[in-house]
Every structure is written in C-alpha cells, then in structure tokens.
C-alpha cells in the first residue's frame, strides 16, 4: 500500500474548486486535559494494578504521539471486576430507592456538561475525530443520554405496566472506538437506571475518555463497584462476555465479532443485545431538494471520517439527476477540510488507527480493481498521522466489495436506479439493516419508502440524527435490541409477571 499516496495525487481532479477559502489554524487548547502517564483498571471505585501486569499505550491517530498507558486486563482481572460488580449489585445498588438511583444519573449528566470541553478535547486527541464533532455531537448527546435515562429510573412501572420490571444483575458491556464516550453513555445510562451494575470494556484504541469518566463517577459519589471499567484488547472482551456470572451482554461493534459473541454465549441464558455493522443506502429521488440532499450525503458518509455503523455509505441516486447530483457532490467535497482533529475548522479528522487505515486502503483498491471510478478532491493530508481523503466511487455495481462490505471510512459508493421498486430492491440487497435515508419532496413516497426499507432507523430528508429519546438498532445482521428511548430499557430488565 506504499504507493497509495502518489496514486491519490494522480487521480485527483485538478479542476478549480470554487468557494475554497484558506483558513488560518484554529487549534483548540489541549491544556484542559491532564492525563496520568499510566492508568490501572477501575474496579470497586479504585484504581487497581492489573493482575496481568500488562499495559498498552494509547496514541493520538493525528500525530502518532503516545498519550498514556492503560492496563491490559486478562481473564483474572475480568473475574475480579465481575465479582465486584456482583457484590455491588447484591449489597446496595439493586435495593436503592429508584429515585436515588435517578439522582446519581442526574449528577453524572451534569458533571459531563460541566466538564464537556475537557472531554471533547480528549475524545478528539485519543480518537482523531474533529473537535467540532466531539464538542457539538458526542458530548452533548452523552450528557443528554444520562439525563434522559435518569428520569426513567423511578418510573419503570409506567414503562412496563403490569409487568413488574426487575434488574438483571451484572451487565457486561463492550464498546467500539468510533464514539467512545457516547457509546459508553448509551450502555451505562440505561443499565444503571434499571438497577443493574456494570463492567464495561472500552475499545483498545480509545480507552482514555472512559478512564477520565471514572473521575466523573468519583465526583458523582457513585457507590464503589456499580460501574467498573476494564481496559484491554479482544481477549478481555471475550473473557467478559463469557464470564458465567454475567446476566446481560451488550455489544456494539462488527457483525463478525457480534456473531462470535452470540455463539459464545449460546445456551447460557444471558440476555443479549447486538449493535453491529451497516451498509446504509441513502436514496435520492429526482424531486428531492438537491442542495439539502447533498448536505445530507456529505454528513451521512464523511461525519466522523465515516467511522459510523449507520453511515450512508451507499448513495442510490435516480438516474435522471445522476450527473447533476454528482457534480454538486464533488463540488461540496472540495470544501471539506481534512486535517488536525483539534482544529476548530476541521471537517474530516484522522483515521482512528493504522489498522483501520490499511483496511480502508485495501477496500478502496478493490473498488478500483473491480472497475469503479474513483474521485477524491484536491486536499493536502498532514504528513504525520493516519489520514484518508474524502472519496467517492461512481459506476459501482452491486456485487463490488465496496457496495457490499462495510468500509468504515470516508468512502462513498454511488449506484443508480430508475423506479422506486428498483431503489427498494437495491437498498435492501445487503445482509445489513441498520439505517437508511430517503430524499424526496413527495410525502406519500417518503412514507412508502420508510415502510419498505428494511432498516431500524430511516432518516427522511435528513441523515445521521441521534437523540436519547429515539430508539436505535438494526434489522437482519445489523444486530438486535434497541438503544435509546423507551425501547432502550427493555434489554436491561426481566419481568416478574
């Protein structure tokens, strides 16, 4: 893949791009974030040395500089964490008056709001996402998620009338690297609101915001052992979900690992929710408001460098407007600013890891080999760090890997259709079913498409909207169970009916 950079230069369209301004650097201050040189595991409300004795280093994907060391838990560490969570569940947390549980969650929500800039900077440092996204999306949504579920804690009998909802026990939660703190909040908030205790494993490339979150728990005065954070790699995650004393498993990540988890816990009786991969179709009809649609497409695939399970990675455009739309899209791509995640003007930040960058490059190369036409706007990528330019493929056939596989990068594949039936057929022609988009000014068509698209979330004339009150989750091999909203409570309760 060494030739990739020069290939990029060759294939770039050098036609003048209008409305490209030069922006002076506008870096967000880093000094708000004070990292320890080394973090242990957060178990029982304390930092403990891992029994494994092993540590890994988290690096900034934008500069490749080491940020901090974190513990790499082994099965024994996981066992201690689960026992601690069990103890906290049996001795206090599950008996606590629900209104008191609510107050802890409200405290956490407020603390996240108060310390939001610190968390936002750390999230961009450790994960590579643009500061304007971590500041305006990840942090507000994470705090809102705790606030929303705080209110449910003492109202569960109204969420489940006549069903006597009870907590499950210990929840094992494994989260990905694309929205580290937000995914943590999606997991922890409903689990605590329903009276469970938690052992959570953050992703190995982005553990730092979860470790800083432990300081929020300290400030909130959460009883020890109610939330335990165990860092490490896939082995720690496997030990956690397989632990016999875990009652609930919640996983967000790849479909491949999701299937492994479903197999691994088969027959155990553990309650399981899986939020897995996606290959969302964004369907644009010829009567759509094209400029708005282009904004939606850009947001759909280049938001968070395309590291989004519900990203609109397949653009399905009606044939009659294909040329016009692609021209607008390329022009808009030319205004995207790729670079330093901590710069407030940056639209597309760093690719989360070297491994992920290699995967994106490999799939992009396959797209070219299979015969799709590639376009990347002229842009200078930083010399250090892991970056990939916004990319669009046209002339894509449904069978191409770039139309079937989740790339999890800033790469869009364009396909065309003539009739609504064809659009539905192509949109649903995937093993995934997480999200979909539809763009048209015709109301009846919106509702008909929304009905026929096999996906858990359908965005009509918008894309990539999230809210704690809105259930999120997939159809088919995108997983099962819902996070968010009233429906996000059910995965964390059992019923004494």
């Amino acid at each position: 893949m060494d030739g990739a950079v020069s290939d990029v230069a060759k294939r770039q369209d050098r036609s003048p791009v209008p409305s490209s301004f030069d922006y002076a650097p506008a870096p967000e201050a880093r000094d708000l974030v004070r990292l320890e040189p080394r973090y242990g595991l957060f178990v029982g409300g304390e930092w403990v040395e891992p029994r494994s004795g092993e540590y890994e280093t988290s690096v900034s994907p934008a500069t490749e500089e080491p940020l901090a060391e974190f513990a790499s838990a082994n099965a024994e560490d996981v066992d201690v964490a689960v026992k601690t969570a069990r103890d906290a569940f049996e001795n206090g947390w599950s008996d606590l008056a629900p209104g008191e549980r609510a107050k802890y969650l409200y405290r956490i929500a407020r603390l996240l709001q108060e310390r939001s800039r610190e968390f936002a900077v750390l999230e961009s440092l450790d994960g590579g996402k643009p500061i304007k996204e971590s500041r305006d999306v990840d942090l507000p949504l994470a705090a809102a998620h705790f606030f929303y579920y705080a209110g449910w804690a003492d109202k569960l009998e109204y969420a489940f009338p006549n069903r006597n909802p009870r907590p499950l026990g210990v929840a094992a939660q494994v989260i990905p690297w694309n929205f580290p703190l937000l995914m943590l909040s999606w997991k922890i908030a409903p689990a605590l609101a329903t009276g469970n205790t938690v052992v959570l494993k953050p992703a190995e490339t982005t553990p730092l915001s979860a470790l800083l979150f432990c300081d929020v728990l300290r400030q909130a005065g959460l009883p020890p052992g109610v939330v335990n954070i165990v860092t490490g790699d896939g082995r720690a995650g496997a030990a956690l979900v397989k632990h016999p004393d875990v009652d609930k498993v919640a996983f967000t990540g790849s479909t491949e690992v999701g299937k492994e988890i479903q197999r691994a816990i088969a027959g155990s009786g553990k309650k399981l929710t899986l939020e897995l991969g996606g290959k969302a179709a964004n369907v644009i009809f010829d009567d759509a408001a094209l400029d708005q649609a282009v904004e939606g497409v850009i947001n759909g695939i280049y938001f968070n460098q395309g590291h989004v399970c519900c990203a609109g990675s397949r653009l399905l455009v009606q044939e009659s407007i294909q040329e016009q739309l692609i021209a607008k899209l390329k022009r808009r791509m030319g205004t995207l600013r790729v670079g330093d995640p901590l710069d407030k003007n940056t639209d597309v930040g760093a690719i989360n890891s070297r491994e992920q960058l290699e995967k994106i490059r490999e799939l992009v190369a396959s797209g070219e080999e299979e015969g799709a036409e590639i376009y990347q706007p002229p842009c200078r990528l930083p010399e250090k760090g892991w970056f990939f330019p916004p990319t669009v493929f046209t002339s894509v056939a449904q069978s191409y890997r770039i139309a079937q596989e989740e790339i999890f990068g800033p790469v869009l594949s364009v396909l065309t259709f003539r009739t609504p039936d064809e659009a539905v057929e192509k949109a649903n022609n995937t093993a995934y079913g997480l999200s979909a988009g539809v763009w048209t000014e015709k109301g009846s068509r919106i509702l008909s498409m929304a009905q026929r698209l096999r996906a858990g979330v359908v965005w009509a004339n918008t894309f990539n909207r999230f809210d704690p009150a809105s259930p999120f989750g997939g159809y088919k091999e995108s997983g099962f169970g819902r996070e968010g909203g009233l429906h996000g409570l059910e995965p964390y309760v059992r019923f004494d009916e």
Binding site: Q262, I446, G456, A469, S470, H487
Partner: protein, 265 residues
Amino acid sequence: MTNRLPVAKTYKLYVDGKFPRSESGRTYEVEGANVARASRKDLRDAVRAARKALPGWASLTAYNRGQVLYRAAEMLEGRRAEFTELVGDEAEVTAAVDRWIWYAGWADKLAQVLGASNPVAGPYFNFTIPEPVGVVGLVAPEESPLDGLVARLAPAIVGGNTAVVLASERRPLAAVTLAEVLATSDVPGGVVNVLTGRKDELSPVLAGHMDVNALDLVGADGDRTELERLAADNVKRVVRSGEGQSPWHAAAYLEMKTVWHPIGV
C-alpha cells in the same frame, strides 16, 4: 349389524398452502397413523414458501389480518369435537380457540401498544413502529399439542410474520389438523407451514437456515445450546421463554423501526 369401516386420514405436511408427502417418501408411525417424516429438503421448501408469502401477509392492513385470523378461529371452533378426540382434553381445545381469538384482536393494536412517538430535542417528527421480523422458525412444544402450538404460533404471525413449524414429534396430529383449519380459512398459503418428523434431524437445519430471521425455542426440549449457536450464523433473534399470553410475546418477533423527518416550512 354392520360396522362401517372408517376412512382413515393420511397425515401429510403443510407447505405453501398444499399438503404434500415428504419428498423423501418417509413416514413414521405415531398416534396410530403413518405421519410424514419431513426431510431437510422439505424444510428448505417450507422456508422458501414462507419467504414468498411474507410480503403479502406483512402488507395486509392490520384490520384485515385480524379478520383473517378471527376467521381461522371460527374454523377451529367448528372442529372442536375432532380436536378434542385428538388431544383428549376439551379444555385444551377451548383454551386454544380462545387464545387464537385473543391474539387475532391484537393485530390492529400492537403498533399502539408497542410503538412510540419520540420527543427528540430538535425540529423533527420521530416515531417508532413495530414491523415483522420476517420468517419465524418455530419448534413446537411436545406436550399440549394444540394449545401449546397456538400459544407460540398465533403471536408469531399476528404481527405479519410467516412461520415454519416443527410439530410435536410424539403428538403431531393436532398440528396437521390445525393446518387443515388454516387451509380452509382465509390465511394465505405459505403463511404457516407445518412439518412433521424427527426434531433432532430438522431443528438444526431450521436453526442454521440463512433465510430464517427468528427462532422460537420455547417448545424445544433438552439442551438448546447447539441450536442457539447455529442461529448466530445470520444473527437470528432467538425466543427462549414466554409463559401464558401477552402482546410482548408478539413483540419478540417484531422489529422496531424509527423514522425521522424534519419539521419546517
């Protein structure tokens, strides 16, 4: 006195609205009859029929689907005597008919009880509605051959799913007779498919089938670990428990879809 020789019934499979023998030509003797012993090929045919019937059944209006299911209960009621003889317990037959009607009435109420309008923090209208998950593979309980089956089947199909049923192996006659009820009501062919035969032969094929979306193991005896493991190949929704009757049993076979649209002028 002359004893009239009764006409014995041939108990066959129910696939795609028809009553074929097993393509394998096999039968097994049970409950005084030679019952078809379905093969893996029969099972795959049944899944194909269920998939084919899905769009039509799922897109009926909820009101219409409720009426079709109510009609099936009317047919069931008319055969009470026959079912009582088969299962040997009138109370079970009564329970099955009443249960079927109870679920039929849920068709046009599920979305109101299970769905939601979500107050998101922005200018968007946002709602959540239940939709059918697709083809449900259902391992019927061995005991309670009629009501036990109805308790799993009715909630599976009321929300718009289609089903492939593995009937009770030891007591399959009630399931085949229920298929006759469905065939003579307005339930379209392929919505419910009933296979008889050896569960240990058929269950793993059903659990691992890539075109089955959900797997009901409530009635499965013994260790279900291997079936659950096979179900993971295409991330099947696995239903493992469900006592009594409840709209939440129907919810176990439904997907929740959330739709966003901006509010503006």
